[in-house]
């Protein structure tokens, strides 16, 4: 494999992993795909062994709830212009979750990743995985996932397996996570020499004086997600054990600033680890982008944050979830059908400024100036005006 082609491969792979730092493969696999439909597009730079490339890409993530469970689908398409040639990469993932099994939630996911570069065989990798996560642990929990797949690159097929485990804990508006991933493959892989960081020698078995070794390594990570107001911050730091080539430490940092109308500006920087299965070396990258989220009330998909409701009344206060919104208003029988703004609380939660009196109330909500609608999860009653309203019931505390 020639040096320019070697440069392209990891760069395309880097795009697959962190377009803007906010839609990631593990998001879909771990059921953290944002609620509703979300579109991201961005551009940035990729640095690898002193060579810089220009990249552009688009990512789409969506979530739909049905009677069989909840489907989450994510897809990324990326292009990279490097050395005058265009390389392309795609990644798709589909997840179905959750089935409830005793104290656990069971999920299944499949993902497919492809690389296409001028003049060299493409690379493909696909995997099926099953996950187990503690159920109903709203602010903390544990999860375990196992996956197995087939990776093909340079004419070599490798069956590989991974075990992933970890936990999460929400403290105020901060969500902390710990993770561990162990990886094994059936076929030896070319080793990234330590003398030339970032490069991987050889692309075919036994060619180019490559060094091969059994693949068996693990990654331990610690992450943090934080949101306050319109600002979202995501950090992840990790270290690789048992794989002697390459730089052991990797991580990423991303920020998003909501600017209204469901639009957010994003930026991310990442030190991406090598991927021996697809013959991709470690690299660094930086990107900026724009995220467009369809205004939507409710965040049923945000299960790992433990917010398994969309609208509810707590201590007489109307609370609802509106992921990604910058302004939420309500009008109903308790506001004399006049629009009232809700206060932003935390974790995408919004609340009414005054308690609801006991009784039955009907209302509709509006997100970011969009249409008035019934929030997901609320009881819906049709009205006499060819529309509908949400219905909430507030018990009278004076009545036992």
């Amino acid at each position: 494999m020639s040096a320019p082609l070697l440069r392209r491969t990891p760069a395309v792979a880097a795009l697959l992993v962190t377009l803007a730092g906010l839609v990631r493969p593990e998001d879909a696999a771990g059921q953290r795909v944002p609620a509703g439909t979300r579109l991201e597009f961005g551009t940035g730079a990729v640095g690898w062994q002193g060579t810089a490339g220009l990249r552009a890409g688009v990512a789409l993530a969506g979530e739909w709830a049905g009677t069989a469970g909840r489907w989450a689908v994510a897809s990324q398409m990326n292009g990279l212009l490097l050395d005058g040639a265009l390389a392309r990469g795609q990644w798709r993932a589909t997840a179905l979750a959750p089935w409830r099994a005793g104290p656990f939630r069971v999920s299944a996911a499949a993902d497919l990743e492809t690389l296409n570069q001028p003049g060299v065989p493409g690379g493909r990798r696909g995997a099926l995985q099953f996950g187990l996560a503690s159920a109903e642990q709203l602010r903390q929990g544990l999860q375990l996932r196992a996956l197995s797949g087939l990776a093909t690159h340079g004419g070599i097929d490798r069956i590989y397996g991974q075990v992933q485990t970890g936990g999460w804990l929400a403290v105020g508006s901060v969500r902390l996570s710990l993770g561990w991933t162990g990886t094994v493959a059936t076929t030896p892989v070319p080793v990234e020499p330590t003398s030339t960081p970032g490069a991987m020698t050889g692309g075919t078995q036994g060619g180019g004086g490559a060094t091969f070794e059994p693949l068996r390594f693990s990654d331990a990570s610690v992450g943090m997600d934080w949101q306050r107001g319109a600002l979202e911050v995501s950090l992840l730091g990790a270290r690789r054990f048992g794989y002697r080539a390459g730089v052991p430490n990797w991580g990423r940092a991303g920020v998003a600033l909501q600017v209204g109308g469901g639009t957010a500006l994003t930026a991310a920087i990442a030190n991406v680890p090598s991927d021996p299965l697809l013959h991709q070396a470690a690299r660094r990258e930086f990107g900026v982008g724009v995220r467009l989220a369809a205004p939507r009330v409710g965040a049923r998909a945000d299960l790992l944050r433990g917010l398994a409701y969309d609208v509810r009344v707590r201590q007489g206060t109307l609370l609802l979830r509106a992921a990604g919104a910058s302004r939420v208003e309500v009008q109903g029988s308790f506001t004399a059908w006049e629009a009232q703004p809700l206060a932003r609380l935390r974790d995408g939660e919004w609340g009414l400024a005054f308690p609801l009196p006991p009784g039955l109330h009907r209302f509709v909500v509006r997100v970011d100036g969009g249409p008035w609608q019934v929030p997901d999860g609320a009881a819906t009653a049709t009205d006499e005006f060819l529309g509908s309203s949400a219905v909430v019931v507030v018990p009278d505390p004076a009545v036992p």
């Binding site: 059908w337 206060a343 939660e349 039955l360 006499e384 009278d396 009545v399």
Partner: protein
């Protein structure tokens, strides 16, 4: 508590904008005149007029045509009268409003009367509201009325709230609304009986 501080702030800073001004100011004069006729009729019949004003304002907020607003207010007045007839002349304003919603949701006057029979001395407003909620979530109206009126006869409103939450829990996990309500109601009535 920290979470609720923004609400406190809003409650202080935001003027009581939800306090009603004159409802006529938000409806065109011709429509307001016709709505006032319905209000006068309700007053003469001893019915509460708050729900009727709210219905007129809802129509205005949803940009319904004048005829639609007037028709909705008239329909609600008639349903409130039917509800009071079923629930008794001593029915409270909340009970009458909830009863009217229940009628609109598909209950009959006879089924409405069973709530009063089941709970002759206490308010049935919350029980009716739970019924409307469950119907909206897919429970057949007859099944919802049968189950909730039975439960209201021997259980308190807090038990009905728990019952509703458990049905919603089951629905979210794939159980049919009617089956869930039946089994949960049976369990509630067996418990402590």
């Amino acid at each position: 508590m920290i979470v609720l501080l923004p609400l406190l702030f809003l409650a202080v800073v935001v003027p009581a904008a939800h306090a009603q001004g004159s409802w006529q100011d938000r409806i065109d004069p011709a429509t307001a005149t016709q709505v006032q006729v319905q209000l006068d009729s309700a007053t003469a019949d001893g019915l509460p007029i708050g729900p009727l004003v709210s219905k007129a304002l809802e129509g205005a907020a949803k940009r319904a045509p004048s005829a639609g607003i007037i028709g909705a207010v008239r329909t609600l007045r008639v349903q409130m009268a039917q509800a009071r007839s079923a629930l008794g002349t001593a029915a409270s304003a909340d009970e009458i409003e909830a009863g009217a919603l229940a009628l609109r949701a598909g209950l009959t006057g006879d089924r409405l009367a069973r709530y009063r029979t089941a709970r002759p001395d206490g308010s049935v407003a919350f029980a009716l509201a739970v019924t409307v909620d469950l119907i909206a979530r897919g429970v057949p109206a007859a099944d919802a009325a049968e189950a909730i009126s039975r439960a209201a006869g021997s259980r308190q409103d807090t038990d009905l709230a728990v019952l509703r939450d458990r049905v919603l829990y089951d629905i979210g996990r794939g159980t049919t609304p009617a089956a869930s309500l039946q089994s949960r109601t049976s369990a509630l009535l067996k418990a402590g009986s």
